[in-house]
Symmetry: C2
Subunit: 338 residues, 2 copies
């Protein structure tokens, strides 16, 4: 059906080896005149190589896998965009798996990528320690077979990648909020077993404690918009918000999407940010820029993180190197105190 390399070779009157060398970058460069003939024939016939066959023959597929929890989440889609850009021009193609936050799906995705002999796998997003065992095992198998693993946001096994300084960045944010004069804090901490969530919570609260401030509560819930919405609804129902307290409450959500959910609940209740409750998130996802009030957060260079990670998978030397990315607190209207 499709035109094969052999067809091109025949048309050009050369051997298949020569055609291969001309068309698909080999160390040996055939005679220019011959090369030109081959190229002309390929052009005329509309030849394009079969990547599967190439992968088989070369034992390398020119593929890189990206595993995210949810591609529709701006956090991950920003990273995906960076990854795509980081790969652009390298001839390496991106395979995407979105796992809907199921640990099993994640392991399955790694298996699939192994099947496709992807040269590298990038894993974005945090996961619980419990899930790690199975994941770690399959990733080790992958590495044993020569695959590179790059983690984004979470260290794991003996892989390399980009580590996000959740701890320190959350602490920095806490510091800034203290400077603004906030003293009453509540934390929406996401799922208990999520490492990322735990680190952000720990960094934030320990900084508070170091300043002699005890957070009034740490609530756990889903690490998502709806999680934030739910927790906030509960909080309001409990009467903790807008009530007569010793100064306004300041809520730290360990992710921006949670903060957005919380904000929605606040609005629905007819309360205002920051007058009735101050609000801070984490990540600085792009959609935050267009909120009103603008929301305080910790900026993570998401796209850059994706780009860096992709670049690391391209260069062999960096296989098990870690790059640490710091978040920058960005103070906006949602935590203003007048």
């Amino acid at each position: 059906m499709a035109v094969r390399l052999a067809d091109v070779a025949k048309a050009a009157g050369v051997s298949q080896s020569t055609a291969s060398r001309v068309l698909n970058g080999s160390s040996r460069r055939p005679n220019p005149a011959v090369a030109e003939r081959v190229r002309a024939a390929a052009d005329e016939l509309g030849y394009f190589p079969n990547a599967q066959a190439q992968a088989l023959a070369r034992s390398s597929a020119g593929l890189t896998g990206l595993i995210v929890h949810d591609i529709a989440d701006p956090y991950f889609s920003s990273i995906a965009r960076g990854a795509q850009r980081g790969l652009a021009g390298s001839g390496v193609q991106l395979m995407l798996a979105s796992t809907e936050r199921e640990a099993e799906a994640e392991v399955e995705a790694v298996r699939t990528f192994m099947s496709y002999r992807t040269d590298a796998i990038m894993l974005a997003g945090s996961r619980g320690l419990a899930d790690d065992a199975a994941l770690q095992k399959v990733l080790e198998t992958y590495q044993d077979n020569g695959g590179k693993v790059a983690m984004i946001g979470q260290p794991l096994s003996n892989a390399g990648g980009v580590r996000i300084d959740n701890d320190g960045s959350a602490a920095a944010l806490a510091g800034e909020l203290l400077k603004l004069g906030h003293r009453r804090f509540v934390v929406f901490a996401g799922e208990e077993q999520l490492t990322t969530a735990a680190q952000r919570t720990a960094g934030f609260t320990s900084k508070l404690r170091a300043a002699g401030v005890k957070p009034e509560a740490v609530h756990h819930g889903a690490f998502s918009r709806d999680g934030g919405y739910f927790l906030m609804s509960e909080l309001i129902r409990s009467g903790a918000v807008g009530g007569p307290g010793a100064g306004p409450l300041c809520l730290f959500c360990v992710s921006d999407v949670m903060a957005l959910g919380a904000l929605a609940a606040v609005r629905e209740a007819g309360l205002r940010v920051p007058e009735d409750i101050a609000l801070a998130g984490f990540d600085d996802i792009p959609t935050l820029a267009d909120q009103s009030p603008t929301i305080t957060t910790v900026r993570l260079p998401l796209e850059e993180i994706g780009r860096m990670t992709a670049a690391m998978t391209l260069h062999n030397g960096d296989a098990d190197r870690w790059t640490v990315v710091e978040g920058t607190p960005v103070l906006r209207e949602s935590t203003r105190r007048d």
Copy 2:
């Protein structure tokens, strides 16, 4: 390096053919006892098939390509999510290309997917007619080689896919806005040559005209957040907003992201929506749900569109069928009139 089928076969004491039949779904089912032995051996050795080799032998790769303009755009990432879900469980893997809105990159992406012998290509997003020639040509080549093409949001060549009734939906929105009593309209229409943008503009304005209302202006600009922001800034500078007019102005942006940009500019200028200017978008991207004021738009079931398209690529019969999706006007606070 890796464990091959032959290794498993040897370990199980059977031929490679038998091992293949057991492990990789063939029409012939070997004896249960033998099958069990093979499976045990595969398990023990940690065998997983080489998808490249399978693809080569089967002449079908189990891959589907998705081409979007920008994966970080919620419009496309929602579609991507749906596509991923639609493919889940079918054994078909998704390859992603994000073209940054460059026509050339789009053609290149199709070429790459052709190389990987993807069974189908999904193309999301609108493009100008000028770009179509090259794209159409390469897609036809693809189809000639047995590839399925599914377009999302824009008909093209003799492919199938999901068509969005931009025209009718925009008209429906115009009707609703008229019902609310709006009479002074401005349209931010995106790039002039974008078919989608043009259709939405046309549908909207023709409905207005049919009701005897002439839009005050149609401004063209980038089909993006920044495009909306820029146009709005210009509009404000020109004094058209908040000035003494015959009733408040109503702005229709042909996409939500443009509306978000416009909203940002309105806020920066210290003006209010809907009091100083009413605002409507198109698409109902997820991030719209958390805006304040909530924004009127035309709801498109984005994820469902992605899912449907993916499903179409899985079933052979649907290769050149078109499904038309209607948008539903959703009236929210941003166009309220008191």
